[in-house]
């Protein structure tokens, strides 16, 4: 799985593609595949000792399970529903873009995703880093941010840093608000400070997560606190393939 990449990818899409991307809908799509299941994958505590399900990998990425949330077709259907309800092509496209980015990013771990479900339950997995979600959030954080997963997040953050102007109030009011009816609507309900907070929060959280989790994994936590950028790493993590 990917961590902060899901928070950051939509901003890059908005920066590169311009007004054909609605940032709030793209972010909603980016969060959608995990929004109802991540808590069940990790269990009820930080250490991963209070399990909810016996096989988190099967639940998260398999079938039977909710692995269909990581297929391409299911989000085409949801985006179609958004279009039918809103008649807004930009919203539907943006949601689909965010969801597909999430799905394709998650192909990089060792479990992968059922990209072609329901036509196939085969998992596309590129094995750049180990999937460690079944060990709980604490161990997953250590594994992810000391492996190539952390590098993947840093790449998105570094790319976004070149687009720092998109986070200015000036850019927000001149380029973002007039081109997306979501912001035009929100302007009637909320103050300028609230709107900018909503606009910036996911990027802020994503970048802060990368720094915070990396500091924690390397300097505060005392378990496997070293970088391991080998392909398919970290080496100490339990090998976990598709369900």
């Amino acid at each position: 799985m990917s961590w902060a990449a899901h928070d950051l990818e939509p901003y890059l899409f908005r920066a590169k593609l311009g007004g054909i991307v609605s940032l709030p809908l793209c972010l909603a799509g980016s969060y959608a595949p995990d929004i109802f299941t991540k808590w069940a994958v990790y269990g009820l505590d930080f250490a991963g000792e209070r399990k909810i399900v016996d096989d988190p990998v099967q639940l998260h990425r398999g079938w039977p399970g909710v692995g269909f949330t990581h297929s391409l077709l299911v989000w085409v259907l949801v985006a179609g529903g958004i279009y039918l309800l809103s008649r807004n092509k930009v919203w539907a496209f943006s949601f689909l873009l965010g969801a597909w980015a999430h799905v394709l990013s998650d192909t990089l771990d060792s479990v992968g995703v059922m990209v072609f479900f329901p036509f196939s339950t085969w998992n596309l997995h590129l094995d750049a880093w180990q999937y460690v979600g079944q060990a709980g959030r604490r161990v997953d954080a250590i594994a992810y941010y000391t492996s190539l997963g952390g590098v993947w997040d840093v790449l998105w953050a570094a790319w976004l840093a070149f687009h720092w102007r998109m986070f200015t109030s000036e850019h927000f009011h001149r380029e973002i608000v007039p081109r997306d009816t979501f912001w035009v609507w929100l302007r009637t309900k909320a103050s300028d400070t609230v709107m900018l907070t909503v606009y910036r929060a996911s990027a802020f959280f994503g970048v802060a997560s990368i720094i915070g989790w990396t500091l924690w994994a390397l300097f505060i936590n005392d378990f496997q606190n070293h970088l391991d950028w080998t392909l398919g790493g970290p080496e100490w993590a339990p090998r976990q393939g598709p369900p």
Binding site: T168, S169, E170, T193, V194, T197, S202, V207, G212, W213
Partner: protein, 66 residues
């Protein structure tokens, strides 16, 4: 072509870099700040946004209200 970077731009970048590092350190020493998702950071970003306008003022080119 992007407009030239002003002193206010540099101060704003420094301000938000400091805010990011502060939140990241909060999360490093108390991981619940980073556990769930961006909504956890909303109160912090709201205060940081409010404070930024008080400390830095608005850009002369900012067409926003206020």
């Amino acid at each position: 072509m992007p407009r030239p970077t002003t002193t206010r731009d540099r101060l704003a970048v420094a301000y938000w870099t400091a805010a990011l590092l502060l939140y990241a350190c909060l999360g490093a020493f108390f991981p619940p700040f980073l556990l769930l998702g961006f909504w956890e950071s909303l109160p912090f970003v709201l205060i940081a946004t409010w404070l930024a306008w008080r400390l830095l003022g608005r850009s002369a080119r900012d067409p926003g209200p206020g």
